[in-house]
């Protein structure tokens, strides 16, 4: 293949990535690219405010920063790297399984090794571009407050993005070799979520075990962390040194990450075609399921709907990974709860908003899957039962799943703080019902596989759902601590729901 056509293919891939991003952001509606760009710019500008709050005070950190600063920045960079790795694994998985142009590419007279090299480079570019975009407000703030020297941080972010993409490609290909294409999809999706959330949560757990708070920085700034940290001259601190202006460290990081990507591309690109073929045929040889004993279930029509929803939820890799993430976020409060059995702590009240928030968010995702994500809408619509009965059965499924996930925590909480458990249960129920109601008001028919687009189908609904969960979480914890303020947040949250209903396309 000539350089020209290779460049053309690279342009094609970048154009596809850009359009996919636009489709995600505009919920598939045409003619909104300009609006999306404008919204992104406004969003990026607004992000400078929280960025200032987060890092503004660190702008004067000098090259000879103390060990604690080195630890905090290094761990923050490690978290960013893991998040990018998570995103890159997800992108690589999509290249294997979900790209509609694979047949065309595989049947074209182009060397597949080079084609997939370009595709891998496009993944690295996309991941890095996103990382640069989202880190820009933070780096801008540091540069404005501390001088232009901070702009080299963009180079570090690029190095992080490139290395994360390289590791993601190598990791996913290794998964293919180890466990085969069918399992790789599910495992990669779940791992992407766990990696993305795991590190932050791990730090929280460590913080709880060491100091009894849920702050992730509590551990990092402790003397224990400093005692375990490597010597200030160690290579471990090179990323921080690079950010703080060490040109040699920056060159090493950038060179090393590009070398890593080049090595991965050279190693795996030649065999990529075979992997893609095996991925594309993975679903054809559908394995036989374990046969359930007994015949068809007896029960009502609504029960048939509920059973179907439970089976589909259980077999949905996206949901499994999303639920896992929600469950992961419940681990720190669960741990705090466990600690509270042995020692009394007022900090236990902090687990209430976390649980209520998790209930609302999980309910939103579940409600989308059961209410909007119907793969056979005609079948259900032509079934002899009223639409209200269908909707009710689906809501019941959402609430039952939420109940099953949250109940163990609530029961444990009831042993430590019975009143808090009751209030938390109430908050969870209201939060879950609110999120479900928002999904009902904004429901649009979609396939379950379009779950990723859930949050872009209506940004209004997405924000309403998030703020509703936050509102109920705040109300619940305030009800336990400052009841007067709880009344205010309750009114605000109810007002938000009322406004959401008012602006929804379906006032049910």
């Amino acid at each position: 293949m000539s350089t020209v056509s290779l460049a053309g293919f690279a342009r094609h891939d970048i154009r596809l990535a850009w359009r996919e991003f636009l489709t995600m952001m505009s919920a598939g509606r045409r003619g909104r690219a300009r609006n999306v760009l404008l919204a992104l710019l406004v969003f990026a500008a607004l992000l400078h405010l929280p960025a200032y709050g987060m890092v503004g005070r660190f702008a004067d950190v000098s090259w000879d920063a103390d060990l604690t600063t080195l630890i905090v920045i290094t761990v923050t960079l490690a978290m960013a790297w893991l998040l990018m790795l998570s995103q890159a694994i997800e992108s690589v998985t999509r290249v294997f399984y979900a790209r509609a142009d694979l047949d065309l590419i595989m049947s074209s007279p182009m060397p597949l090794g080079q084609v997939f090299s370009v595709r891998m480079a496009a993944i690295a570019l996309t991941v890095t571009a996103m990382a640069l975009l989202f880190s820009a407000p933070v780096i801008d703030v540091l540069a404005i407050c501390g001088g232009a020297r901070w702009l080299v941080a963009f180079g570090v972010v690029a190095a992080i993005g490139i290395s994360a993409a390289a590791v993601a490609i190598g990791f996913t290909v290794a998964l293919f070799q180890l466990i085969g294409p069918r399992r790789t999809r599910l495992v990669a999706q779940i791992l992407a979520v766990i990696i993305g959330a795991g590190f932050v949560i791990g730090l929280q757990i460590a913080a709880i075990l060491s100091t009894g708070t849920m702050s992730r920085f509590a551990l990092l700034t402790s003397s224990a962390a400093a005692s375990f940290a490597p010597d200030p001259a160690s290579i471990t601190w090179w990323p921080v040194r690079a950010i703080l202006g060490d040109a040699m460290a920056l060159s090493a990081l950038l060179g090393g990450s590009m070398l890593l990507l080049g090595l991965v591309m050279a190693t795996v690109s030649s065999g990529m075609g075979d992997l893609v073929v095996s991925a594309s045929t993975a679903g054809v040889a559908s394995t036989a399921r374990r046969r359930r004993r007994g015949g068809f279930r007896r029960g009502s029509r609504q029960q048939a709907l509920r059973v179907k929803e439970f089976i589909l939820l259980r077999r949905d890799p996206w949901l499994v990974s999303q639920s896992l993430m929600q469950l992961l976020y419940l681990l720190p409060p669960a741990l705090m709860l466990w600690r509270s059995f042995s020692e009394s702590s007022t900090a236990i009240v902090l687990i209430t908003p976390v649980i209520v928030m998790a209930a609302g968010q999980l309910a939103g995702g579940l409600a989308w899957l059961t209410i909007s994500g119907e793969d056979a809408p005609d079948l259900v619509a032509t079934a002899p039962l009223p639409e209200t009965a269908v909707t009710r059965a689906r809501i019941e499924v959402v609430l039952m799943v939420i109940g099953a996930v949250i109940a163990p925590l609530l029961v444990a909480l009831a042993f430590v703080a019975p009143l808090q458990a009751v209030v938390t249960a109430l908050g969870c129920a209201i939060s879950a019902v609110s999120a479900t109601a928002i999904q009902l008001w904004f429901r649009v028919q979609a396939r379950r596989s379009q779950f990723r687009r859930r949050q872009t189908s209506s940004r209004f609904a997405t924000f309403a759902e998030a703020f509703s969960s936050i509102g109920w979480a705040a109300t619940t914890v305030l009800a336990l601590t400052i009841p007067v303020l709880a009344a205010i947040t309750e009114v605000l949250t109810v007002g938000l729901l009322a406004a959401t209903w008012k602006f929804s396309p379906r006032r049910v």
Partner: protein, 252 residues
């Protein structure tokens, strides 16, 4: 003969649906019990819109729909209980096996579990899906998916079966299986209304044929009646159909 039975399987009067133009324009249609009725028409003629309104998937702007004497607009649940709908795009659940799918459909229609299970296994067997009964549908070809959807439509023993291009994507053997099953249902007293672009299928299977153009029924009758209307006793249905479409285009 079916024509001697008193109640119509489907009676549509003044059925109208407009988008930016009339998709279905005051359509009158009567289909007798036990009849195999083929609804033909060029692309965009209003066939699918008509059938979707009959199946309760679309609300008409005007008109009435009666299924076996039941007012389908006033009592949709009762009408749906005896109706089945199959679209050209098989809508099934990737994560369910065919048997689980049929169990779900039988449950939705409130069928007796043991009777439905026996019917489901028979259907899967007759459609050549018995070996795949416990595999998830996600790896199935379009033809296999269409057969699963068809089995779903038949498992609850409907009295009116509405099919929109049901043979799309089926290989010759599968298409023959499906046609045989549909004919057997008609012989057992079921009524079938089907749209198809495969005119040979309509020619060989249908008791009566209706031709819809621009949302209006422009011709209806047995093949012999349509031929007679066309003025050529030995012409094929394709000749008749093309002549009708051409004459309507000229009239428009």
């Amino acid at each position: 003969m079916a024509s001697e039975r008193p109640i119509s399987a489907l009676e549509v009067r003044g059925l109208t649906k407009r988008y930016d133009r009339p998709a279905v324009d005051a359509l009158d249609l009567t289909i007798r019990v036990g009849e195999f009725y083929a609804l033909l028409g060029p692309n965009g003629a209003g066939k699918t819109t008509t059938l979707r309104m009959v199946a309760g998937l679309l609300k008409p702007d005007a008109g009435s729909v009666s299924v076996m004497g039941i007012d389908a607009l006033a009592d949709p649940v009762a009408a749906k209980q005896i109706t089945a709908w199959v679209s050209d795009e098989p809508m099934i659940y990737d994560k369910l096996t065919p048997l689980e799918y049929l169990e779900f459909v039988a449950g939705l229609w409130g069928c007796d579990a043991s009777t439905a299970e026996a019917a489901a296994r028979d259907l899967l067997d007759s459609l050549g899906l018995a070996d795949h009964a416990h595999q998830r549908c996600e790896g199935f070809s379009k033809g296999m998916r269409q057969k699963v959807a068809l089995a779903g439509a038949l498992v609850h023993e409907p009295r009116l079966i509405i099919l929109d291009e049901p043979l799309t994507g089926l290989d010759a053997v599968s298409a023959r299986h499906v046609k045989a099953i549909l004919q057997a249902r008609v012989r057992a007293g079921c009524t079938v209304i089907m749209t198809t672009h495969i005119l040979e299928v309509a020619e060989r299977m249908a008791d009566r044929i209706g031709v819809i153009i621009s949302g209006r029924l422009v011709a209806e009758g047995t093949l012999a009646e349509l031929r007679a209307r066309n003025g050529a006793g030995d012409s094929s249905l394709e000749d008749v159909f093309v002549a009708l479409v051409d004459s309507e285009a000229v009239a428009a």
